[in-house]
Structure formats: structure tokens, C-alpha cells
Symmetry: C2
Subunit: 511 residues, 2 copies
């Protein structure tokens, strides 16, 4: 019976390390598994080879109390290694467990705490230098972001042609010194010139990502892990089915025990020309089988939305599919798929030459509010061109924009919603009318909570009427200037003067 | 043979006035017709009763040279009245004839001069006081507008509840002193309290409109006449089929000879609940039969676009049917209907409480450019709330906004287009790419003219490539600031630095 693990907190990571064979290829020739048993759960998980003869099995307990475990492996385990007990203590402050879907369209942590997702995207922030990673984390600490999308694999794309800090496999990459903005596309998905052993992982690449996931956890940020993507010059997007399965299994075994992990099967899956829908479905099946914690699962599109009605999809992770309507489709998507709608990509604030990366801060903030008032959850990105080619959207670093400064204000307003979140009620006369989710089901008449959003429209006044008797506290919200004007308690015919500016909202809270 | 008409210019109005019976109801009991014969045309038209025993027949000659005419009537005509001759001289400067459809999607005056439509809407400007009408005309004189939409019938609508200067029929209207912003909808289409004789027109109402049409003609502005509309408290939208036919016949007989007239069968036809599609088709048939000059004909929608593929429809007169996509649908509508697309209503610059009347000047100008670059023609309106309730959109008067100041600049750029107009080529990477209409048919390779529009996007630079050899003069256009920066003649791979601002365009003219 092993002694070197004693206690772990609920939704923490219990990690069991044993020594085993180094010879041959331990990644493919050996296996290790663990079964963890508490009074309320029994969980079996795959472990993984971490290099240097070390094998690791990780487990995230979902309950407090005494647990025991038993390991099994393809190699001989000592008696001390094979079994053990440990105690799961209560979750520490700020640890609310993994995020789950709440009442069809929303999210909450497993302990019931509401989670209003405010995301950002920094595709390969974790594969930059230590210094840049530190800067990214410091920036994140100052923002309202509570979810970040990023890749496990390195990225080859315009404005992102440098070498990553490490590679996931043993081997050597194609020479990148010949790459330019003009010719980089010719290297797309090219594997010639690369020399990889896809059966041997580089454990340090993954260990580093785990440290990044933990840093995010400390900041209260969900790690929306993009497992595959098409921006590739190394052949990682063009591995065989067997190689993919090995990669997926390794990824799940390493990362699943971290409570803040979300799975994004791919970014722009539909640009990955070597993969079929059957491939995605098989990775999803593997994920459902091998992740016992049921972390949130989705897949992100480019031109064609995935069929989010597939049962393994927990929420829609949407990229806008047209230039002029983005956040405005959230209520449609809710109805179409009956799942939470996360608008992960609605164009980014910036000045890139591409339409997906050059909207104004005002428009980014407008799309955030439009998303929220339609009952969805918004995602940010920033793409300001700098000569050093450090861009938040890809590398992290610092933020130069104006939109991110308005998200804490939005989040604070979101938290004023009764129940689990907002629901789009209707759009009429230039007003996006949101109400609180739960209380609207089959309930006619005035609601307890209304949030009217005016988007780019500029009414000089508005007239409201709910009924003659219900009293509301009325507040005028300037979503851009971040001011709230309390107009007191009103009822009946309510006439509100507005400043004839864009980006205004009016909130009605039943007293 | 009459002597008192001698010459008229081509596309001018030849008016023949005769005396006839006053007794009974001359509007229904009498008729008069004229046949006009030149060497190149023979045209028969209905005349009309103008009150006080005067009957008028109007004719617009389409050719120069000698004409003779012959009248026929339900009453005895003297020999002098019955026949006559006159000479049609060449059109005076600025008189280009009526506007016609040119090469499927565009417009030109009958003399071949290109006409790039830049419209505005002032529904009942012509039914205001003399002073306000003078102010409207003075305002129009300072703008780039070359088309204005307005109503023949008075309008009952929010912000427009006062009495018009006159009514089209003999009788007395319902008392309007009881109307308020709150109760006005109860009076919609109400005919109770009105006392009209729908068989007796008020000629002065129509004479006044004719003077307004002529004033517009002097300013080079097309009069897009809205013959019917739903904003009514007098019962004018709820007349019988027979009454409607009489009204339509009178309207055509009076107005058709003015070269700057366009026919808009209705504004928001789909809100006229007493009319059916069969009704509209029958009015259209009457118009086709009775207007020998084939003035442009369309009908304007609210929620449901009319079937613009109907053969009598010469062009689409579109109101946006959704809040977030307006001008962006122009290329779709061109393809759907194969006719010119006039975006007459894309929301108005202003601060009204309704979404159709509270966009920014920037967004109005953006929609104008977006319309133009997609090969359509834009329309403006202004709805700033003022305590005097004089609003351009309804009453005319003065303009308070910022968008109208940018339309002459746009018009000047439109006039730089080779051939008859622009055509949407494609949208890629945040660029709306327009080319000259004619030269693109079945012609691969680089064009003679490109206009790239960046809308609300803000590229810091763009890279272009057409071919290695074609030389273009390149100009960067700030559509809001109205500046043009000439970047000289370039070819091959063309890299353009842009100011990372919204509303930019880049023009390429083959040298």
C-alpha cells in the first residue's frame, strides 16, 4: 500500500506515479490503468507513459471521503504501487468543480455555482516563450475572461510561422526559415521534410500544457482545449487513423483529470480535408468512452456548422458563417439544437486584412451583448497587426483593444439575472428583449426580469407597458460607457427618455 | 384648328384645355381623349376634368418634329378645339427624358444619359404649407438626391397626425383634434366621421401636386409617386374597387405626361388589409394600359416583398425585411429578380423609437456604399425627433443629419464607373468587390475597373493581384471623410497600406 499520496481536494487531481519499463516503445507496448473507488463512485481510467520509465495515472474525485484505488498494467507492479487509499477533502475556495450544462441552454459548475461564460481565443499562447506566457497570464488576470480556447498542437498560419516552443512527438520539423507571408500556404499540411515518430510522444510538450492548464485553473479560467486543427506544416493534421487514436488516447489520459478542461474536437474541422464526419464521430466516441468526468464537448466550424444535435455534443461552439449576421443567430441556434450556444468566434477586434479579424471594439462589444440577450455566451479575440507579430488571437501577450475592458461590466450585469441565465423573448421595434430563463416557461404575463437591448439603434425614447400593477426597478445601461442610471420604481405605462446613442440597454427588475 | 399651342420641347408637357359641361358629375359622366400623331409615334391618352368646366388632355412627345392631334369627348367639341398641330423642339438643357431601365440592372434617361439613382423619402412633403414646401425644395437643391418618394394621398401615422393642406376628394374629414400618439392607431383606416364623395375629385389637390412635380423636375429630381398607402384615417385605403379604378384613372390622366414621374403602386402594400394581390395586379394592368410613356413601375413592401418577377414591375423598390441585413441582400435580389434593385428603405438616419428610424449617419452611408457596390441603388430617409414634429421622412423641411452630406461624393464616384453601372463580383476576405457591369459578361481575367469596399471592416493593409501586366491607377477612398488618395499607377502584386478605419474603399482603374 503506497503512502506518498495522502489527501486531495474534491475535483482536484490525484496523481499516481509508478516506475516501469523504458525499453522498446513504452507508448505503444505498455499500458496502465487505475480504478478509483469511493462510497459514491467507482471510476476506471487509463494512465500514460511520461518518459524516463515513469507511468502516471490521474484521477479527479467527484466526492469527498475515503477512496481506494487499484492499478493494473502490462508490466509487473510492486505491491506498494498496486493499491492505495487516500482521503478526498472538501473543495478549496474558488474550486466549484467542472462546468456542466444547466437547464438546457446555460452552464453551472458542478457545485451549483452559476457560470456565465465570457471567452477569448489565443490559439497557441501556451506554445510561446516563458516570458510571453507569463505576460498572457498576467493579462488574463486583469480581464473578465473565464474561458480560453487554445491548441494542443502547434499552429502554422499567416502571422504565425515561427517554431513552437516544443513539438508533441519525437522527431525533427521541416525547416521553417524559408517561410514567408506569400508562400506559407504552399506548406499547408505538408509532411515532407518532417521526420516524426508518431508513436513516441514528447512528454515535456504535454507536461508544459498541464502547467498552463493549472495556471488557468488558478485564475478561474476554463481551458477549452482544441485537440486538432488544420493549420499545419508538420503533418499532424494528416496522421493515420491509428496514429490519431494513439494521440487522442494520450491526450485524454493526460488532461481529463483537470477540472477546468473542455474538449474542442477541432478548430475549423471542415478545413481538415483528410478527416471525415465518421472520423470526428469516432474521436467523439473515444472521448465519451475514455473521459469518465464527462467534460464539455464540442467542435468548432469554419464554413459549415457541425451537426450539434449529435448526442455527444454538449454545447454549440460556433464560428459565424456569414459576415453580417453573427450574434443575431443565437436564438435560432438555441432553437435548432436545444443546447447552450457559445459564439466562440464572431470576428475579432482588430485591423487584420481578413474580415474575421478587423471589426471595431464597439462592434465586438455589441456582438457580446447581442449574444447574451439572445440567451447565448460570447467569445472574444483580438487581431491588431504589430510589426513584432505578437497577436493576442494567436500568441497571447497583451491586449491593445478596447472591447475587453467592457466585459467585466457585462458579466456583472449577467450576474444580476435571476436563475441560471437569460433567454431571448422577442425582437420588436428595434429592441432585443431578453428575460430570465426559468421563469418564462409556460408563464404568460409580465416577467420578473427584462433586459432590453438596443444594439446599434438609437431611440431618443421608448414606451413600455407590461401591466398596470407590477412594479419594476428601471435602470438605463450604457453598455459602452459602462454607466447605470437608476430611474427608480415604476409601473403601468412607462416612458423612458434615452440619450439617442448606440449600445444602450434598459433593465427592469420586479421589486 | 387651335392656335394657342405652338411649340413644346421633347419630353415636355403639351396640354390641351377645352371647355365643357359643368352640370351633373363631370368626373364620372364625361370623358375626353386625345390622339397625338408625330412621324415616329401615335399616342392616345385619356384627359380629365379639372373643375370649373375645364377639361384637359396632356401629352408628352417622345420625338422632335411636327405633331397633330385630335380630341374626342362625351360632349360636343368645337371645331377649333377638336384638332390642332404643334411642333416639338429639341429638349432643353438638363432635359434628358424619362428614366428607363438600362442593361437589366441599371437606369438611364431616354436620351442615353446615365442615371445613378440616389433617393430620399419625404412621404407628404407636398401636402405641407407653402413655406415648408419652399424649405424642402431649397434643401433638396443642396443635396445629391435625384429621386424622391412621396404620396398623393395624405398620411395618418405616428408623428404625422395633423391635417394635410388639402384632400383629394370633395367632402369633409374626420375631426383630428382628438388624436394623440397613444390613440392614433385606433383611427387606422377608419372612415366613420368622414364625409367624402369619392366620385368628385378636388382638382386643386392634384394641381398642387403637379406644381410640386414640376419643381422637382427643375431640380433634376425624379418624382417617385406613391399612389396608395395604408396610413389612413379617412377611408382612402378602403375604397371600393370602382372608386379605386376612378382614382387610378384620374391619377394617370393627370400625372403621366410629366417626364420625371415614377409609379409606386403602394407603400407597404402588404399592410393594406383591404387589398389583395389581385387588386394590385389589376391596378398595374390599368397603369400599363393607360400610361403610354411606360414610366417606371414598382411597389414597396413592409414585411413581405412583392413578387418583383411580375412582368409589369420594372425595378425592385425594396424595404429591408430584416434588421441586420439590408443592403447586403442587393446582389441576391438582382439575381432573384433580374431587375434593377432600388433599396428605397434600409432604415433611416435618426433617433426614433422604432428600429426603422434610428440608425447612425455612418451606418446609413455604409448601407449606401454597400448597395452601390452590390450593383443596386440606395435610398435615404431622416427621422430625428424634434418637438415641432417636422421630420424629413414625412414632412420634408431641413436635414439635421450627417449622412446626406456624403452622397454627392458617392455619386461622383459612381459616375467614374465605366459603362452603365457597377456589378457585384464577389465578397472575399471582408471585401465587397464591384466591377463595371458591361465588361464582365463572360470575360475572364482582370477587369477594367474595380471598386473594393470594406464596409465596417478595418484592414490595416490589403494585398491585391490581378495579373502581371495590367496597369491600374489606384486610389484609396475614405467614404466617410470624403477623401481620395491617389497611389499612382501599379501592377502585379499590389500592397496597399490602409488606415485601419471603417468605411474605406479602394478603386482600380485600368490605364
Amino acid at each position: 500500500m503506497s503512502e506518498y499520496f495522502t489527501t486531495v481536494e474534491r475535483w482536484g487531481v490525484q496523481e499516481i506515479r509508478v516506475e516501469g519499463p523504458k525499453d522498446g516503445n513504452p507508448f505503444t507496448e505498455q499500458w496502465i490503468q487505475g480504478t478509483f473507488q469511493g462510497t459514491q463512485e467507482s471510476v476506471s481510467v487509463d494512465g500514460f507513459y511520461d518518459g524516463d520509465g515513469i507511468y502516471i495515472v490521474r484521477f479527479m474525485p467527484s466526492f469527498e471521503g475515503s477512496y481506494r484505488f487499484e492499478l493494473a498494467a502490462s508490466f509487473e507492479l510492486s505491491k506498494e504501487d498496486r493499491k492505495g487509499v487516500f482521503e478526498v477533502t472538501k473543495a478549496s475556495e474558488g474550486n466549484h468543480g467542472p462546468v456542466r450544462v444547466e437547464r438546457t441552454f446555460h452552464f453551472a459548475y458542478e457545485d451549483g455555482t452559476r457560470y456565465f461564460s465570457i471567452g477569448t481565443t489565443c490559439y497557441v499562447w501556451a506554445l510561446q516563450s516563458d516570458e510571453l506566457i507569463r505576460e498572457t497570464l498576467e493579462t488574463l488576470r486583469q480581464t473578465a475572461f473565464n474561458k480560453i480556447r487554445f491548441c494542443i498542437l502547434p499552429k502554422h498560419y499567416d502571422f504565425n510561422l515561427r517554431e513552437p516552443r516544443s513539438y508533441p512527438f519525437e522527431g525533427t520539423p521541416i525547416d521553417s526559415s524559408v517561410l514567408t507571408r506569400e508562400n506559407f500556404k504552399e506548406y499547408d499540411e505538408l509532411s515532407e521534410g518532417n521526420h516524426w515518430d508518431f508513436t513516441r510522444f514528447n512528454p515535456e510538450h504535454f507536461r508544459h500544457l498541464e502547467r498552463c492548464i493549472l495556471k488557468l485553473e488558478e485564475l478561474g479560467i476554463e481551458a477549452d482545449l482544441i485537440v486538432m486543427h488544420p493549420y499545419d506544416r508538420w503533418g499532424f493534421s494528416n496522421m493515420s487513423k491509428e496514429q490519431d487514436t494513439l494521440y487522442w488516447s494520450y491526450v485524454i489520459a493526460r488532461f481529463a483529470a483537470y477540472r477546468n478542461v473542455w474538449w474542442s474536437l477541432a478548430n475549423e474541422y471542415d478545413l481538415m480535408k483528410h478527416k471525415t464526419i465518421e472520423d470526428w464521430e469516432s474521436y467523439a466516441a473515444l472521448l465519451c468512452k475514455k473521459d469518465p468526468y464527462r467534460h464539455l464537448r464540442s467542435i468548432h466550424n469554419c464554413k459549415n456548422r457541425y451537426d450539434y444535435s449529435r448526442p455527444w455534443v454538449t454545447h454549440c461552439s460556433v464560428q459565424r458563417t456569414e459576415v453580417y449576421k453573427t450574434a443575431e443567430l443565437v436564438d435560432y441556434l438555441r432553437e435548432a439544437y436545444g443546447k447552450p450556444v457559445v459564439m466562440d468566434e464572431m470576428s475579432y477586434e482588430g485591423d487584420f486584412p481578413y474580415d474575421w479579424g478587423n471589426i471595431t471594439a464597439e462592434e465586438m462589444v455589441r456582438r457580446f451583448w447581442e449574444t447574451v440577450c439572445r440567451g447565448g455566451y460570447p467569445g472574444h479575440g483580438e487581431t491588431y497587426f504589430h510589426s513584432d507579430l505578437i497577436v493576442w488571437w494567436s500568441h497571447g501577450g497583451r491586449l491593445y483593444g478596447e472591447s475587453w475592458k467592457r466585459f467585466q461590466f457585462l458579466l456583472d450585469i449577467m450576474k444580476e439575472t435571476p436563475d441560471c441565465g437569460l433567454k431571448f423573448l422577442e425582437q420588436a421595434r428595434g429592441e432585443v428583449r431578453a428575460v430570465s430563463e426559468e421563469r418564462t416557461i409556460g408563464r404568460p404575463g409580465p416577467r420578473d426580469y427584462y433586459l432590453m437591448y438596443y444594439s446599434f439603434m438609437r431611440p431618443a425614447f421608448k414606451d413600455y407597458y407590461f401591466d398596470d400593477t407590477t412594479e419594476y426597478r428601471v435602470k438605463v445601461i450604457d453598455t459602452w460607457e459602462m454607466t447605470v442610471t437608476d430611474l427608480g420604481v415604476q409601473k403601468g405605462k412607462i416612458h423612458i427618455e434615452l440619450p439617442a446613442k448606440q449600445y444602450m440597454a434598459v433593465q427592469f427588475k420586479k421589486v
